[in-house]
């Protein structure tokens, strides 16, 4: 489904601020893979997402998604098939527009939406209401309200719905629950699991929660200094504990996983 071949990116090359963000990253995801990504601060996790989403064009290497080479494709065209969520709930929605208008924008990705002058139809509204009610937050009764009135958790749930309204080929989740309170975070995470499973979406998720990293999805990737240093899945991952994962990390890179936000406990 997703193939990265020797993808590298250096920021500010040739200056004192030079930063090698990605070093020859190779990554292959099968269709339906759900991989979590853990790593130190500045390991290149978000940069990897930016490379895949097209926020910048990689210095070297190729990126293929569903058989199509997207290496040189601009970000707005990639987002037709890539859904993305950020940590900041304010990033994913337009605050002064209504819930229904936000969903209509997300729905633009649907290929049958051809005329730019068409308006939100009754059928669209019915679809939006149905999808909103599946979130279980009562948002289907507030479709004419501006999104700015929603709480962070509600906005993030709406963003999740927008990212998956038209089933994406790839979903990128960049710590999308990290800014929410624990109860809301769990709710959004449950919704994520449900929607991803329902539509069999290929998914990459950055997390700081080591427990989530091992239990969610079917693969765990560890990143360090712009490289993927560990990739566990299958049987091995099922039996792995958090301390074992940290040990493997230390063996592979020669230092401890160092991240001031990492969450080791199960309940956090």
């Amino acid at each position: 489904m997703l193939d990265l071949k020797r993808v590298s990116k250096t920021f500010n090359p040739g200056t004192v601020n030079e930063k090698v963000a990605l070093q020859n990253v190779d990554l292959h995801l099968e269709e339906g893979d759900f991989a979590t990504i853990v790593g130190s601060n500045g390991a290149g996790k978000s940069t990897l997402f930016n490379a895949i989403a097209g926020e910048f064009i990689a210095d070297t290497g190729t990126i293929t998604l569903a058989g199509q080479d997207i290496t040189m494709m601009p970000d707005y065209r990639r987002s037709k098939v890539i859904g993305r969520m950020f940590q900041d709930p304010l990033k994913g929605t337009a605050p002064h527009m209504t819930i229904e208008e936000n969903l209509a924008l997300a729905f633009l990705r649907a290929s049958h939406q051809t005329s730019p002058f068409s308006r939100i139809s009754k059928a669209d509204r019915a679809l939006f209401a149905e999808k909103l009610s599946a979130l279980g937050l009562g948002l289907e009764d507030r479709m004419k309200q501006p999104v700015g009135l929603l709480s962070g958790g509600q906005r993030q749930a709406l963003t999740l719905l927008m990212a998956t309204l038209v089933t994406p080929k790839l979903l990128l989740l960049d710590e999308h629950t990290a800014a929410l309170d624990p109860a809301t975070a769990e709710k959004v995470l449950d919704l994520t699991k449900k929607i991803v499973a329902e539509h069999h979406i290929t998914c990459l998720m950055i997390t700081h929660n080591m427990h989530d990293a091992l239990t969610l999805g079917n693969r765990t990737l560890l990143m360090d200094h712009g490289r993927i240093v560990l990739d566990v899945g299958g049987e091995e991952r099922t039996h792995m504990t958090v301390p074992e994962l940290l040990d493997r990390f230390a063996q592979n890179v020669g230092h401890q996983l160092d991240n001031d936000r990492i969450l080791l406990s199960k309940d956090a």
């Binding site: 989403a53 601009p74 970000d75 707005y76 065209r77 987002s79 037709k80 859904g83 993305r84 950020f86 304010l90 990033k91 994913g92 929605t93 337009a94 605050p95 002064h96 527009m97 208008e101 936000n102 209509a104 924008l105 997300a106 633009l108 990705r109 939406q113 005329s115 730019p116 002058f117 068409s118 308006r119 939100i120 927008m162 990212a163």
Partner: protein, 305 residues
């Protein structure tokens, strides 16, 4: 204090200039771009419309003015989206260049007199009769139709994309919308409306002048802010009505100023003061509230001690 003629006059001008207020609503508010092309685009509309009317095509002058305004908007958009010129500077550059273009359109003369020229207003006069408020009918009709079309457009998929571009660019790119395209379309429409306003004004007052557009961005903003302050809360339709109402009220303020024998040379200064005060109002209110709060706290402290 007002004669019927001054009221009519203020209403007519209010409706004509309301197109500028709506254009700025689109660029400054919806797209969140301070579009400084406005002054030049307004004069461009005047020049194109006057030249076309003198050549015997007053009606053709309006779409031509809109088209030329859209081209001006396109240049500004191109500078900022493709060539990474900061948006305010992009508008100023286009505006500066337009000065020469506008002179050229008027045959390298700084004004076009059209005293005996057929205009859309003389046609309306012939149709509706000498004593009817034909000027108001024409001005109001054009403004209401254009504003309604704009609001309807902002409800379409492309319109929603343009609104989102100003509201949250991060989210827009993630929704597969090309912001270069939405900004370009938005600025083209805004400047087409500004030019249309100039085009109608030139035919209304039967002359075009190279300086007609000077300070137009401030006048348009003054109208927009007056409207927003008085009626601006609500949906898109309310906001459109507010912009038009703001423009009419602004013209009444000017009429009062003229009535009070303020020399017409001072009107730009009055506009500037209105805009500065209107924009500063929330900050002034907050400061006053803070002073009251502090005075109250000091008094309480004094009684406790």
């Amino acid at each position: 204090m007002f004669t019927v003629a001054t009221v009519l006059n203020a209403l007519e001008l209010g409706f004509i200039y309301a197109l500028v207020a709506m254009a700025l609503f689109l660029s400054f508010r919806v797209l969140n771009i301070a579009d400084m092309t406005t002054d030049g685009a307004f004069t461009l509309g005047c020049a194109v419309s006057a030249t076309a009317a003198v050549a015997g095509h007053p009606f053709l002058g309006l779409p031509l003015a809109m088209l030329s305004g859209a081209v001006a908007g396109f240049v500004t958009a191109f500078l900022q989206t493709r060539l990474a010129v900061p948006s305010i500077l992009a508008g100023i550059i286009t505006n500066t260049g337009l000065y020469t273009v506008n002179l050229a359109v008027m045959g390298f003369s700084s004004n076009v007199p059209m005293l005996k020229t057929e205009t859309i207003f003389t046609t309306a006069q012939a149709l509706l009769g000498e004593n009817s408020p034909y000027k108001l009918v024409v001005a109001a009709l054009i403004t209401v139709v254009v504003c309604a079309l704009l609001i309807l457009f902002l409800g379409t998929r492309l319109g929603l994309s343009i609104r989102a571009t100003g509201d949250n660019p991060d989210m827009v790119r993630a929704s597969s919308i090309n912001t270069t395209f939405t900004i370009t379309v938005g600025l083209c429409i805004a400047n087409a409306m500004t030019s249309l306003s100039g085009a109608v004004l030139a035919q209304y007052q039967k002359s075009a002048d190279i300086n007609l557009g000077t300070g137009m961005v401030v006048i348009g903003l003054a109208s927009l802010i007056i409207g927003e302050t008085l009626f601006g809360r609500g949906g898109m339709w309310t906001k459109a009505v507010a912009a038009v109402a703001g423009s009419v009220i602004y013209r009444f303020i000017i009429a009062i100023a003229l009535r009070a024998n303020v020399p017409s040379e001072c009107l730009k200064l009055i506009s500037a003061v209105i805009v500065a005060l209107a924009i500063a109002a929330p900050a002034l209110q907050a400061r006053a509230a803070f002073r009251r709060r502090r005075a109250h706290a000091e008094k309480e402290g004094a009684t406790r001690a």
